[in-house]
């Protein structure tokens, strides 16, 4: 949470860390869509927020007028340090064409359906053992004791880091998540233990190559050259940053929904085949991720006087609630058959981990409802939501009904 003054009018002064936005952004977005489809703010050095599906889609696909050099809104306008174009600090998410395609092709095969589907037994075992650890308790924290642990556990397994290191790995993940938006000189110091451990793991993989993501990245070639260790390390950090609180939020939001909608929960328990369709509706209705862009040059765009280096906050979750694009957009329909949601973004930056995220959501929910076919929120006001660009429940006490 920031110390910014409370927002009075989101059309002219939006702030994605404002308590009202953090607690319940949907009424704000509904209002903006009708009144001011591209909202402005002078905060963060100045930026724009499109809230319609059409507005979000147009900018997401427009790499001529907008750059991805920085996708997380900072405290002011970007500086030279933030703009190492065209590659960016964390390729491919911070890359623009044409380099983007090269960096993306490098990682996509590792996240394609075939290798990802092979992870299902490992993910199921992880979820099942987390639930074993909670057995016998009447109130379980589905946020801090379940959803939070699933993505890092899965990524540890994908990277092929030792299972026995999980506690230390979680500590390192915490350092990364806390430090990712700190100034570079602080981050370098904070990341020292992370780098030390990751380099030791990479060296072990060089000596003993195996069938995992670390060996894959170490073998990968760009322009006929193997990647530098720093590039592999950077990619691993990106995978952790992009793959953890996002999926954790999506799993948590789905459990939060089911805890308050017993009919939906009962249907999923009774009709397991409905799960993939339900997952898409969870993704539409509770899309956790908004991503930023920067305006490339001064221009009038969608009727707005945009200036070079203004931020754009791409409201994918707002697009998913646009009644122009979705019938009954503000109603959660667990068996919604037509669902062109944009939870994973649109265009060349489509979330590279989307197959993994869906698999983790499906297995996490299947295992949770298998273990607990009936549950409710234990303390609704105690549920807290993460502020900023990734939205999901953090504290999520659930009462198990027997």
């Amino acid at each position: 949470m920031t110390d910014n003054p409370l927002v009075q009018d989101f059309a002219t002064d939006w702030d994605h860390s404002d308590p009202q936005w953090v607690a319940d952004p949907y009424p704000i977005w509904d209002d903006l869509r009708q009144r001011c489809p591209v909202a402005h703010t002078d905060r963060y050095g100045g930026g724009w927020f499109p809230s319609t599906h059409a507005g979000v889609a147009a900018i997401a696909k427009d790499t001529k007028n907008f750059t991805s050099r920085n996708v997380v809104i900072g405290n002011g306008r970007p500086t030279e340090l933030d703009l190492p174009a065209p590659i960016g600090v964390a390729p491919p998410i911070t890359s623009d064409p044409p380099f983007h395609a090269l960096a993306r092709k490098l990682i996509l095969p590792a996240f394609a359906p075939r290798p990802i589907n092979a992870l299902e037994p490992m993910i199921r075992e992880l979820c099942s053992s987390l639930l074993d650890g909670l057995s016998g308790e009447d109130i379980v924290n589905a946020g801090t004791k379940y959803a939070q642990y699933i993505p890092p556990g899965v990524i540890r397994g994908m990277l092929g880091f030792p299972e026995g290191d999980i506690e230390y790995f979680l500590e390192l993940v915490h350092i990364i998540m806390e430090g990712v938006d700190h100034p570079e000189e602080e981050r370098i110091i904070e990341f020292e233990p992370v780098e030390k451990y990751f380099v030791a793991q990479m060296e072990d993989h060089i000596d003993n190559p195996r069938d995992d993501l670390t060996s894959y990245l170490l073998k990968a070639e760009l322009d006929g050259q193997k990647l530098a260790m720093e590039h592999v390390f950077g990619t691993m950090v990106l995978i952790l940053v992009a793959g953890i609180d996002t999926t954790w939020s999506a799993i948590g939001a789905a459990i939060w929904h089911l805890a308050q909608n017993p009919d939906d929960l009962a249907r999923l328990v009774a009709e397991p085949d409905l799960m993939p369709v339900a997952i898409e509706e969870f993704l539409r209705f509770y899309a956790p991720v908004t991503m930023a862009r920067l305006v490339k040059h001064d221009m009038e765009y969608q009727g707005c006087p945009m200036k070079q280096d203004d931020w754009i906050l791409l409201g994918f979750p707002a697009a998913n609630r646009d009644p122009v694009a979705f019938k009954d957009a503000d109603t959660f329909i667990i068996d919604r058959a037509e669902n062109r949601h944009v939870a994973f973004g649109l265009g060349i930056h489509r979330c590279a981990g989307s197959n993994l995220a869906r698999l983790e959501m499906r297995v996490a929910l299947e295992e949770f409802i298998k273990r607990y076919p009936r549950f409710e929120l234990a303390d609704p006001p105690a549920v807290t939501w993460a502020p900023g660009q990734i939205r999901g429940p953090r504290n999520l006490p659930i009462r198990i009904l027997r």
């Binding site: 092709k105 394609a112 359906p113 058959a337 037509e338 994973f344 649109l346």
Partner: protein, 64 residues
């Protein structure tokens, strides 16, 4: 009737091959591809249309 995916538009959102695995498959990058020549039967046309209606990128085309 035939179905095709425009590879310039497809971004690998993964909806088509989940909804209609008999009609669509994926390549090594995870992008959608049509199985065979894309000819649809009276049985498969519904599924192809459903996949089309779920493609966020509007990359699926069904043509006479």
């Amino acid at each position: 009737m035939k179905v095709r995916i425009d590879p310039e538009i497809c971004q690998g959102q993964g909806r088509c091959f989940s909804i209609a695995p008999g009609i669509f498959d994926f390549d090594d990058l995870g992008n959608g591809v049509v199985i065979g020549d894309g000819t649809l039967t009276s049985d498969s046309i519904e599924q192809a249309r459903l996949a089309q209606l779920n493609c966020p990128e509007h990359a699926i085309f069904i043509e006479e």
